[in-house]
C-alpha cells in the first residue's frame, strides 16, 4: 500500500458507467504486526467522518492494533481513508480519561462514579424541584455517539426531564441538510445513494470538498472520472480544492452568494427549456413562484453578485441542463454560509425541475459532516423528535407518549426544540443552570469563542462533560465523566446515504471509562425516571435492547429500522434504511415513484418561511394540498449579516483539513495524522497578501471584531478577497491556554433562520504581518 498520508485517496481503480466499483482492501496494522499475527477481527465502521466506511478492527493482546476495510460493504468496497488507517491509535493514548473527575476547591480531582454521578443527580433534583425546573437543563450532545445513546438521551430529555433544551453539535454540521430535506420533501431522509456515483453522467459538488471530508467517496468519483464514459463535473467553492481542480467547470463564488448563483442557474435551466414539464406538473408545487423569482437573476447579474464570469455561469447551466443522470452533493460551503437552507433547497429544486431524483444516477446527497449525525437527527437528541416526527402534530407526539407510556403533556412541544445557540444564550442569561456536554467540544467549535468561554466559566452554571480526554471544554467542567469510544462499546450508526452499520466492542475501555449508553442509563436509574405504570422509563440494560426499542419507535416512519436487527447486521454488512419486512434488504433510493413525504399527517414539518424562519401552521399547510408533491421554495438573494468594509476588508471561511476530525482529540493523537497537519495555517490569495506585504510562509495576524488568530500564511488555495482557516485547532496541546489558534475566535454569532446552523463562513476580517 502506498503512503496514505502523501497519497490520501490511494491507487485508482477506474470503472465505467453502470459497472461495479472494484474492490480494494486497505489495511493498516501496528508496526511490525502481520495479518497472521492478529488475534481477532471485530466488525465496525468509521467514526471519523460521515462516509460510513466499513472496517474490521484488529485486536492483538487485548488492544486495538489496526484496521482493515470490509470488501463486501456497499459503501467503501474495502477502502479506508487516512483518518481511519491511522486514527485508531488514539484509543491507546496514555492521556485517556480513566476516572471521573470532580471540581474541588476550583480544581478537577480524581473521583469515583458514585461521587461524580451523585453530584450530577443531586444538582438535577435540586433544579427539577418546582415549576419550570425543566427550563434549567440543557443537553449539548454530538455527531459521534451511537444511535442507541442518542435514543436513550432523547427519552431522558423529552420524557424524563421534559425539557426542549437538547441539541447536538450536529447543529453545526448537518442541520441545514435536514432542514432543506424537510422543506422540499416533507421529511428528513437522504434521497440518493452512493451507487448514484456509479450511474451518473454529471456530478455537481456544491460547497463540498469531498476530497477532504469523505476521501473514499472522492476515490469513487475519481475512479469514475478515470474510467470509460466519465461524468462531467461542476464544483462550486471559493477555494481551489482538489475537487475544484478536477472539475470541468469551477465557480469560485464570493462566499455568501450561493442563493444568487442557484437562482441564476435555475433561470437558465427554465429559459432554455431544460426542465421536465411533466415531472414538475405531476410531482411539485410552486413552480410559477420559483420561475418568477429566478427570472430576476440573468447571468450578468449573477456574475456581479458572485464575482464569477457570466460565461462560466452559462457553462455550468449547460452542464446541469444537459445531464441525463445528475448527481448533486452538498456540504458546508452551503450549510455554514449565508442563506443556508434556501441555497440547499435550490439544489433540491434543480433536481425536482429536471426530474432528476429517485433514479439510478439521478439523485441528491445532502451530506452530513459528522459520522453519526444522521442518528442524532433520527433519534431526536438534537432539534428533532424521534422518528422524524412532527413536533407540531399532536398525533405524532401522542405516538411517542404511547410508546414511552407517559403523559403526552410532559413531552415539550410548545415550540421547536431549542437549538444549540439558544441553549448557550439561556446559559449566558443564567436561565439554564445545568449543562451536560457529551462527546463534543463547544469551547473550540462554537462561534465567538471568547463569549463561549465566558459562558462555560460562568458562576452558577453546573457543567458536566463526558469525553475521552480532558478537552478544552472539560477544563471548565464541574464533573468530568470518562467515556468509552469506538471499539470499546457496541452500537449502531448510519452514514450520509442511510447505510446502517453495527460497531462491536473489540476491547475493554481504559480504567473506569464507561460506554456513553451505560452512563445515560445509570443517570436515568439514579434519577428514578418512571413511566405512568411506575416502571422504569428507560428499562434497558444493553445496546441491543435499546436498538430493539428504537426499531419499534421508527416503525412506519421514513427512517424505518423495523426490519433490521443486530443479527442481520452481524451476518452481512451495511444496510440502508428504510429496512422493513417488505424491504428486508433495505432501500437504495427514496422517492423512486415521485411520491414525497408531504402528506400533512406524515410530514415532519408544516414548513417555514425561508427568509425569517416563521413557522406555518398545520391549517396553512393543509390548505396547500401537497398530496405527495414536493415543494419548490425560492427566495431572493440577501447579503450576509457581516460583509467586508474598510476596517475588515476580507471574508473568512473556515473548514476542514483532510487529516483531522473535529477538534483533533483523536486525530492529533495519531502520529502520522498529527505530523501531516501539526498546526494551524491561513490561506490567502497572492493579490491580497501582496497588498498587505505578506510573503509565503510569513506569520500573519487575522483579526475580526471579535478576536485574532496568528498563523503562517499559505499564498494559494482561495479566491481573491477570501481568507481560509482550518477549524480543528484549539489549545489542549498548547502550553499557553487560548492563544489565538482557534478559527472560532473570529467567527460571529449568527445563524440561518430556518436550520439555525451557525454561519461560520461569513465573518469579515483583516490580515497583517506580525513583527519578526
Amino acid at each position: 500500500m502506498s503512503d496514505r498520508v502523501a497519497d490520501p485517496w490511494g491507487e485508482r481503480t477506474p470503472y465505467g458507467r453502470g459497472a461495479r466499483w472494484p474492490v480494494r482492501v486497505d489495511v493498516q496494522l501496528a508496526d511490525g504486526l502481520s495479518v497472521g499475527e492478529v488475534d481477532s477481527w471485530t466488525q465496525s465502521a468509521s467514526l471519523l467522518h460521515s462516509n460510513g466506511d466499513a472496517m474490521d478492527i484488529a485486536v492483538k493482546d487485548g488492544r486495538i492494533a489496526g484496521v482493515r476495510g470490509r470488501a463486501t460493504d456497499r459503501v467503501n468496497h474495502g477502502r479506508l481513508g487516512p483518518k481511519d488507517l491511522f486514527g485508531w491509535q488514539a484509543n491507546n493514548s496514555p492521556d485517556r480519561l480513566t476516572r471521573p473527575l470532580v471540581r474541588e476547591g476550583g480544581r478537577l480531582v480524581e473521583s469515583d462514579w458514585d461521587t461524580a454521578l451523585g453530584r450530577v443527580v443531586d444538582r438535577s433534583r435540586e433544579l427539577l424541584d418546582g415549576p419550570g425546573g425543566w427550563g434549567r437543563f440543557g443537553f449539548y450532545t454530538s455527531g459521534q455517539l451511537f444511535l442507541e445513546e442518542y435514543y436513550a438521551l432523547a427519552v431522558i430529555g423529552k420524557a424524563g426531564i421534559g425539557t426542549p433544551h437538547m441539541d447536538g453539535n450536529t447543529r453545526l454540521c448537518t442541520a441545514t441538510a435536514a432542514a432543506s430535506l424537510k422543506a422540499s420533501f416533507g421529511t428528513d431522509g437522504q434521497p440518493g445513494s452512493y451507487t448514484d456515483v456509479d450511474e451518473c453522467d454529471a456530478l455537481a459538488l456544491w460547497g463540498h470538498n469531498v476530497a477532504a471530508t469523505q476521501t473514499v467517496l472522492w476515490s469513487r468519483m475519481l475512479d469514475r472520472r478515470r474510467g470509460t464514459d466519465p461524468p462531467a463535473m461542476l464544483a462550486v467553492d471559493p477555494r481551489h480544492t482538489p475537487v475544484a481542480r478536477e472539475a470541468d467547470v469551477h465557480l469560485a463564488v464570493r462566499p455568501g452568494t450561493n442563493v444568487a448563483l442557484l437562482n441564476g442557474l435555475l433561470r437558465e435551466i427554465i429559459q432554455n427549456g431544460w426542465y421536465d414539464e411533466s415531472y414538475v406538473a405531476a410531482h411539485t408545487l410552486g413552480f410559477e413562484s420559483l420561475a418568477r423569482i429566478v427570472d430576476g437573476y440573468p447571468p450578468e447579474r449573477v456574475a456581479e453578485i458572485c464575482a464569477v464570469s457570466a460565461t462560466d455561469v452559462r457553462r455550468a447551466a449547460e452542464l446541469l441542463g444537459g445531464a441525463r443522470r445528475l448527481l448533486s452533493t452538498v456540504l458546508q460551503g452551503f450549510y455554514q454560509s449565508n442563506q443556508a437552507t434556501a441555497a440547499a433547497c435550490q439544489v433540491n429544486n434543480l433536481h425536482l425541475v429536471r426530474g432528476m431524483i429517485g433514479r439510478p444516477g439521478a439523485g441528491v446527497l445532502q451530506m452530513n459532516g459528522q459520522p453519526t449525525a444522521e442518528n442524532n437527527r433520527e433519534c431526536g437528541a438534537d432539534g428533532d423528535l424521534p422518528g422524524f416526527r412532527n413536533w407540531a402534530n399532536p398525533e405524532h407526539v401522542g405516538q411517542l407518549a404511547r410508546l414511552w407510556n407517559v403523559d403526552q403533556g410532559i413531552i415539550p412541544t410548545w415550540s421547536p426544540p431549542t437549538h444549540a445557540m439558544q441553549i448557550f444564550r439561556y446559559a449566558e442569561q443564567g436561565s439554564i443552570r445545568f449543562l451536560w456536554v457529551s462527546a463534543t467540544n463547544p469551547a473550540v467549535t462554537l462561534p465567538d469563542l471568547a463569549r463561549i468561554r465566558r459562558i462555560l466559566d460562568q458562576e452558577g452554571l453546573f457543567l458536566v462533560v463526558q469525553d475521552l480526554f480532558l478537552t478544552e471544554t472539560a477544563q471548565f467542567a464541574d464533573v468530568v465523566l470518562p467515556a468509552a469510544t469506538w471499539g470499546e462499546k457496541t452500537g449502531t450508526f448510519t452514514n450520509a446515504d442511510r447505510t446502517v452499520h453495527l460497531s462491536e466492542q473489540a476491547v475493554e475501555p481504559p480504567g473506569e471509562a464507561r460506554a456513553d449508553l451505560d452512563i445515560f442509563l445509570d443517570y436515568a436509574r439514579r434519577m428514578d425516571f418512571r413511566d405512568r405504570a411506575g416502571n422504569p422509563l428507560l428499562p434497558w440494560r444493553t445496546p441491543e435492547e435499546v436498538f430493539d426499542a428504537w426499531r419499534a419507535c421508527s416503525r412506519g416512519r421514513p427512517c424505518d429500522y423495523s426490519g433490521l436487527s443486530y443479527a442481520k447486521l452481524r451476518e452481512g454488512s451495511g444496510v440502508q434504511w428504510p429496512c422493513t419486512d417488505g424491504a428486508p434488504d433495505g432501500t437504495e433510493r427514496l422517492y423512486t415513484d415521485g411520491q414525497f413525504h408531504t402528506d400533512p399527517d406524515y410530514c415532519e414539518t408544516y414548513g417555514q418561511d425561508l427568509l425569517t424562519g416563521a413557522e406555518f401552521t398545520g391549517d396553512e399547510y393543509r390548505a396547500k394540498r401537497p398530496g405527495g408533491r414536493a415543494f419548490l421554495h425560492a427566495v431572493d438573494y440577501q447579503a450576509s449579516p457581516e460583509v467586508p468594509g474598510a476596517e475588515y476588508p476580507l471574508r473568512l471561511v473556515t473548514g476542514r483539513s483532510l487529516y483531522h476530525f473535529h477538534t483533533r482529540t483523536k486525530t492529533a493523537r495519531a502520529p502520522e495524522l498529527n505530523a501531516a497537519a501539526p498546526d494551524v495555517w491561513v490561506e490567502l490569495h497572492p493579490s491580497d497578501a501582496a497588498a498587505a506585504g505578506i510573503g509565503d510562509g510569513e506569520r500573519v495576524r487575522v483579526e475580526s471584531p471579535r478576536g485574532a488568530v496568528t498563523a503562517p500564511a499559505r499564498l494559494s488555495g482561495v479566491r481573491p478577497g477570501v481568507v481560509f482557516l482550518p477549524f480543528h485547532y484549539g489549545w489542549w496541546d498548547s502550553a499557553d491556554g487560548p492563544d489565538g489558534r482557534a478559527a472560532n475566535e473570529l467567527t460571529l454569532t449568527a445563524w440561518d433562520p430556518v436550520s439555525k446552523q451557525p454561519l461560520f463562513k461569513s465573518a469579515a476580517v483583516r490580515v497583517t504581518r506580525t513583527e519578526g
Binding site: 425543566w134 427550563g135 425569517t612 433562520p753
Partner: protein, 151 residues
C-alpha cells in the same frame, strides 16, 4: 374621497414599525437572531414606505386635509432581559398587526379605485407584513415558556 387618509396611516405605521424594529435590534443585540432579523425587517418597512410615496403624491390633491393620527404610540422604547424581549416582540406584533389591517383596508380602496398599480404594491407589501407577523409569533412562542415560567 379619503384614500389619502389611509395612505397616510399606512405610511406612518410602516415608518414607526421600521423605527421600532431598529430600537429592538439595538436593545437586544445579544439575541443574535433578533438583532439580525429585525434589522432586515426594518429595511423591509423602509421599502414599504418608499413604495407608498408615489401613491401619496397621486392622491394627496384629493385629500381633504392632513391625515389625522388614529393610532396610539404602541412602542415607547425597548426593555431588557428575557421578559423584556418578550414584551418588546409583543409590541412589535401589535404594530405589525396595525400595519397589516391597514394594508387590508388599502387593498379594498385600490379595488374600488381600479388602481392596479396600488393593488399590486399592497398585495406584495401585505404578504411581507404577514410574514413579519408570523415570525414574531414564532419567536414569541418559543421565548414565552422560558421567560415566564423559568426566567
Amino acid at each position: 374621497m379619503h384614500v389619502a387618509h389611509y395612505l397616510g396611516l399606512q405610511h406612518r405605521a410602516e415608518a414607526n414599525l421600521a423605527d421600532a424594529f431598529r430600537q429592538v435590534a439595538a436593545a437586544h443585540a445579544a439575541e443574535a437572531d433578533v438583532f439580525h432579523l429585525t434589522g432586515k425587517l426594518a429595511a423591509q418597512c423602509d421599502q414599504h414606505v418608499e413604495r407608498l410615496a408615489p401613491f401619496i403624491e397621486t392622491y394627496s390633491a384629493e385629500a381633504p386635509d392632513e391625515p389625522e393620527r388614529l393610532h396610539a404610540d404602541l412602542f415607547a422604547g425597548a426593555r431588557s432581559g428575557g421578559l423584556g424581549l418578550l414584551r418588546d416582540l409583543h409590541d412589535l406584533y401589535l404594530m405589525a398587526s396595525y400595519a397589516d389591517i391597514t394594508w387590508t383596508v388599502l387593498g379594498q380602496a385600490a379595488a374600488g379605485l381600479r388602481d392596479g398599480d396600488l393593488a399590486a404594491v399592497v398585495a406584495a407589501c401585505e404578504q411581507e407584513t404577514s410574514i413579519q407577523l408570523a415570525w414574531l409569533r414564532t419567536r414569541m412562542k418559543s421565548a414565552a415558556p422560558q421567560a415566564l415560567v423559568v426566567a
